[in-house]
Symmetry: C3
Subunit: 352 residues, 3 copies
């Protein structure tokens, strides 16, 4: 019997099946420094213990997306080692802040299956949850991935497609953040004078900055998350693939876009939820990533007056800067430059 894990294939999954994923991981200030070096994130709450304390935290929480990537990475060996593509995310909620010293682990449950008509692969719907060392859920999300079959003759399972929430509803956002001392959330210190009150539904923000990605960067990032998906690391095999080169982990584009979005959304210190995310084109080393954001919706958060939520749609494009006409031509990704469309909620202080 082989000692090597070859991952699960489509026919290995069944609805209701659950996984305790391997390799818990203690997060440290070393991870925080690497995250800064990889993306250049500048949100003051995550950057400064002093700032975090002054507004109500015990110390700086780690970046929400670092939590996401680590939890996501744990699911890969069981769920998506044989994936053709990561098709989408839904219902991703950040439930509890994670701090250096916390240990993250992950579990998943299969909630849907649908074999493709070609009989060679199928779509697996998975709900994954990340936990800290106290057993508290810190993060949950649904994703669906297209997974190859090992045995093309294997019988197709009954098709079960779960109800996927189009959007996380405001009552389900961000309830465990500490009360924020908004009067101490100084825009001169945080880097932006714009608070929740200042944003308008429909407004578009061009984040302007573009960042070119190197192979060493995305490989180091993806390994930091202990994500083992082979397409990111193995040039020798990738040369024989459709794209003839390594693919960049989609989460790397999410983090890069979020860091770029600081310019225009500098007080959006917490990602409450990801409603949906789609990777529309592959990204390769050498591509320069730009991002812009449309404010889709504003909402108050339940039971709190300190913070409001903004529902954002951030688009990341490669090798092209924002313009209005370009925003229109993105429809259907006609240019092939649209890398990512991310629909998510952020929390921002409400000024009195």
């Amino acid at each position: 019997m082989s000692k090597t894990l070859s991952g699960n294939f489509f026919e290995d999954f069944e609805v209701g099946q659950s996984f305790q994923h391997a390799t818990p991981r203690t997060v440290s200030v070393g991870d925080v420094s690497l995250y800064t070096a990889l993306y250049g994130s500048r949100f003051a709450v995550q950057s400064s213990d002093e700032f975090a304390k002054s507004i109500g935290f015990d110390c700086s929480p780690i970046d929400d997306l670092l939590t996401f990537h680590i939890v996501f990475g744990k699911t890969v060996p069981d769920i998506s080692l044989n994936a053709v593509a990561n098709l989408g995310y839904a219902g991703c909620r950040f439930l509890t802040s994670v701090f250096p010293g916390d240990t993250l682990s992950a579990r998943s449950e299969i909630i849907g299956l649908r074999q493709n008509s070609n009989g060679r692969s199928g779509i697996v719907y998975v709900r994954s949850t990340g936990f800290n060392q106290h057993g508290e859920a810190v993060l949950e999300f649904i994703r669906w991935v297209m997974v190859r079959k090992r045995d093309l003759e294997a019988r197709a399972p009954d098709t079960i497609i779960p109800d996927l929430p189009e959007c996380v509803m405001p009552p389900d956002l961000a309830t465990k953040l500490p009360p924020i001392k908004v009067e101490r959330f100084d825009g001169a210190v945080s880097g932006s004078q714009f608070f929740w009150n200042d944003y308008i539904e429909g407004e578009v923000i061009d984040h302007e900055d573009g960042v070119t990605i190197e192979e060493a960067e995305h490989q180091m990032a993806t390994r930091l998350y202990q994500n083992t998906a082979r397409v990111h690391f193995n040039e020798f095999l990738q040369k024989k693939s459709q794209h003839a080169r390594r693919l960049i982990y989609g989460g790397h584009i999410i983090s890069l876009s979020r860091a770029i979005s600081f310019n225009g959304l500098g007080n959006a210190f917490h990602v409450c939820a990801i409603n949906s995310g789609q990777h529309l084109s592959p990204c390769f080393a050498g591509d320069t990533v730009f991002a812009w954001t449309r404010i889709l919706h504003k909402s108050l958060l339940p039971h709190r007056k300190d913070l409001g939520a903004l529902r954002l749609r951030t688009r990341a494009m490669k090798d092209c800067q924002y313009s209005e006409s370009r925003e229109k031509s993105e429809i259907g990704n006609q240019t092939g430059n649209l890398l990512l469309e991310l629909d998510y909620w952020v929390a921002m202080p409400v000024q009195k």
Copy 2:
């Protein structure tokens, strides 16, 4: 109104104007490890808590230049986002050691302005100061940068050129270092048998080692410092620029030269001051950096017998090793290979 910061242009500055720069940053052992990985620094005081304690520190301070880069990085969004070039530094003093756990912030004041005769840009003179979480100044420096005008018709300000110190004077050097137990500063442990007494004014040290820079390295370094200057990250736009590629942050060359200088200056554990620094040619990924140093001057430090100061002039060259004839041909940077000339003071133990 745009939510995005586009940075200040020349006509936005006035003498006397002050800035509290955004995004305080807590420094950690994670930053120390990355700094080691990026430059290979080997000064024993910064490398070993045990060594640092044995000679009089509470623990290893962080590298002085890491402090410099973080403070410098904070000034970029307000001062030099629209800079054409960083022209020089003066009067840079390292005032208090910074330790992991400290939180750095920065303020600046405009101390001079001079519009260029072409009317398209001008020189901005700035004094910047870095602070720790106790409000103590840890670092101050003057720099001058050439900044573009947004509106070429904008009126030229009155020309004010500040008095720039040619050199930080010994009485202003390094007063807050703890008393150093020189008898425990063991050359076998620190990696050099040469102490302050052994250096001679006029002596030239070829540091021998050459280091090739990669895009991923300088990008990770510059992001670690949360420095947002676009020329370092955006290959897509840089391709259309004069150099047709990304420029490496000048501070990266300073840190690399300092790390290379360990070979010959291994006991120069503290940078007291930078008298002046000039980036004479741009540096690009793929360049191999060499460095050599001339001992310009020796001085005792005020009120202390444990440490002396050496005034050094370190030159960093690309793709060329030291030779005497080469040192002469550097005059006026005839070869175009001279990257950096740095005039600075270091502290070194005085042997009895």
Copy 3:
């Protein structure tokens, strides 16, 4: 007198000579994060403080090979700065776990010398030992390197070739590990269901994953270890060398192979000893590294029932996947793709 260290040449060594190597180094969680980012290691004991505590450690020890690289790096300036090649390792024993906060230092003794018949270089046999801040030996190993002569006329020393152990014997393995609570070493958490009992002598495990190495990665790794060997960093000089490019530090391949070996050896949480190691071909940026392992021998560990030892031979190949025929053609490295052959002992829990 030159202040620069040019390293020792063959004629500078004599048997019995000892070295206290420079630059002690405090290891931190920052180093742990970088190690994860560089290799993607997933052994649960090193990844999770909670897991480590649950089975009997005070917290996660650092990766044994990180200890090895740091100690090895310290020996370079004195031993191998003028080395032509690192020929082999023997008798490498990991004696005491190292934890974040520990400070490592190193000493070496010359135990053998043999001038080559060409009179231009010779082989230096060295025993090196790493210590923590309490003076406990954490690691010892013998290596032999071919070192150039400075003066070809220098007299050949008497040839002394030390007895080199072909293999570290089981009674000398891993005695200082804490008692391991094997019942809490949960395979679902650690990522492998296979324990010491499950492995069979002669079994071959193809670890499947291949990883492509970038220049920035191996340079950052090698600097993290403060290893100053010039061939890894200086493209300008290397272009004139036999290989016309930078060589990757052999230890980088060892760590990469060990991380890759997780897939099939996920519960081999501790490297007890390295019996022998040979770098058979140079490795360059752009190469994709694969690895497979043969179980050479199984042994119980003295005085303990919780852990058993597996003697492994791991081979790392570039740009080629495992196959049986390939394993045969490796003999004598006919393909030139064999990078590394490592013969070592790992500890693994014994299931009751």
